[in-house]
Amino acid sequence: MRRVATLLLLCTFAQPGLGADAGVLVETMKQARLSEGFEARMEAATVAANGRRATPFKLSVVGQIGAERQRLRIRGISPDKVRGRYVAAERNTDGHIRSIQYGEAASGSVEKSDPAARLFDSGLVLWDMFGAWWNWPQQSIEGSDRVDGRACTLVRSHTDDGASPVREVLSCVDRDAKLSLRTQLYDRRHALLRTIAVKQTIRKESGALAAKKLSITEADRTATEVEVYSGDEHYLVNADTFAALDSSK
């Protein structure tokens, strides 16, 4: 009885193009990302198509993901090239992402930045970290697939928003892990911009899985290998954390 009621409820509030099953899965994914404060420290290195490895760099990602407002702050840790450089961004319910970049010094300039830009010359993109596509209106289940031997459900997310750098995202979601094992991002001409593939996972407190190692492959076959080496699921966000974002409004 309850199941029928839930289904009816979803059907009532569902928007066109949203299959009932897709809706449940999308909602699960959105819930899994919610956090009052987290930090993830990762080491990333780009590998060019010819195999040349660039020097790896470390960065810290601090986030606060709520239902209404989502904020991320990225800080370069090492080497010198990235140390003390910050990129921060905020996404509101209207879907628009506002991003800035700045340095350590208090009087340093705060500049606007493009959320779709490559971070520190790598395949890491701030826009991707927001997972904005889970909020798009058009969601559908496209069947299932296997990534590295793990079964996952294919979900296609689509938007008609002309301002969005990415128009379509195809995720292969491990339902139990609440994690997309492979995420493919396409532009408005349906050209593949990049693929984010999870190589290794780690268990979170909630039991869901998070990516420990992942690989981002871009259109020119440059790969960026990322490994999360430390983290805090209960990062204490304080007044200073997003101060630059707040004052640049």
Partner: protein, 375 residues
């Protein structure tokens, strides 16, 4: 002339086959002994780290499969713990595994509360300890100093911040020897975890008994949901890396045991088949079937005792020797247990008896005339 001498003569006068069997058994046993003692040494090293510090109980977040328990705000838990009976000190510790150099693997970095008892068991070899919480300095273990090629006064960059090596120490625990240690405050700063620790070390007073320890564990279970109080030995057991290592060594023991059993079984089977005629002669000469079986089982026991003893010595030599290799130095700290070695010897003999029994019974069942006909 008795059964034992007969068995001995049989083995002595077939040197090639005897040597082969004994070698195979000893290799299998050596592998078991070496691998187990290395795994135990690794486990013991973790335990030594905590024992050496003088910690009686450890309080951490309940973690399932992470190697490091997740960090928590110390002050949320410390007051409750300090109030428990027999608790003398509650000292926080924050540890992470971080890469600090491009050409070295990740190392353990510990943040210990400045002025706490945790530092007391370390032996300073060179330099000095951090003077206060504000200094961006650290002390490194002798093994870490070797691996990272650092001396007192050198710089090490950790998580984007430059630390000076203030001192080099030695610890009885392998884990600490390969680690970098700074004050807790500094560690919290560079990992952006203000006020957080992942372990609270509890030192109890001299009157605390085992029953008191159990009572504290129960109290923690009841009043601090999500937390657990365990002794250092139990922590080691929970450590995923140690558990994996133990699982691997258990698997190895199993496989080595199976292989050893098969080798003994097969060798005895083959040798019995070759000796069917000989068994026929013994039966024809009036030997009872059970005497024939006793002979063959006796030979198996001699073979497996010899193979087992040699294997144990070989295993000890390998495990100790590996620890002295340049490549492995400081990483292997094998632990040998006399009861275990006796158990291994016993197992080897048991396998030998089983391995010899089946073919022996099979052969003794034959009619003497059949056995004599075999070539």
């Amino acid at each position: 002339m008795n059964l034992f001498r007969f068995a001995l003569d049989n083995l002595y006068r077939r040197p090639a086959r005897t040597a082969l069997t004994v070698s195979a058994i000893s290799l299998g046993i050596a592998a078991v002994v070496a691998l187990t003692s290395i795994a135990w040494g690794f486990e013991a090293s973790w335990q030594k780290a905590n024992d050496a510090r003088g910690t009686d109980l450890i309080v951490t977040r309940i973690a399932s499969e992470n190697t490091m328990p997740s960090p928590f705000v110390a002050e949320q838990v410390r007051p409750a713990l300090s109030a428990l009976p027999h608790v003398q000190q509650v000292v926080g510790l924050l540890s992470e595994m971080l890469t600090v150099s491009e050409d070295a693997p990740p190392v353990f970095v510990f943040g210990w509360a400045h002025g706490s008892y945790l530092w007391e068991h370390l032996k300073l070899k060179d330099g000095r300890w951090p003077a206060d919480d504000g200094e961006t300095v650290l002390a490194i273990g002798s093994l870490a100093a070797e691996m990272l090629h650092k001396q007192v006064g050198d710089d090490i960059e950790i998580e984007g911040r430059v630390f000076k090596v203030a001192g080099i120490f030695e610890s009885s625990a392998l884990v600490e020897n390969g680690a970098l240690i700074m004050t807790l405050t500094q560690m919290q700063q560079i990992t952006d975890k203000p006020g957080k620790v992942n372990i609270l070390n509890i030192k109890l007073d001299n009157q605390a008994t085992d029953a008191d320890i159990d009572a504290i564990k129960a109290q923690v279970r009841q009043t601090l949901p999500g937390f657990i109080a365990i002794t250092s030995g139990e922590l080691v057991q929970k450590n995923a890396v140690v558990r994996i290592s133990k699982a691997m060594s258990n698997a190895t023991i199993l496989i080595a045991g199976l292989v050893g059993a098969l080798v003994v079984f097969n060798t005895m089977l083959m040798s019995i088949n070759e000796r069917t005629r000989e068994i026929g002669i013994l039966l024809a000469l009036g030997w009872q079937r059970r005497t024939v079986i006793k002979l063959i089982v006796g030979e198996s026991v001699i073979l497996t005792l010899a193979g087992g003893a040699i294997g144990i010595l070989l295993g000890i030599a390998i495990a100790s020797g590996l620890g002295h290799l340049e490549l492995m130095r400081g990483k292997i700290d094998a632990v040998f247990s006399l009861p275990f070695l006796f158990a291994v010897l016993g197992l080897s003999v048991f396998l030998g008896i089983c391995g010899g029994l089946y073919p022996a019974i099979k052969a003794a069942r034959l009619q003497p005339s059949q056995a004599l006909r075999q070539e």
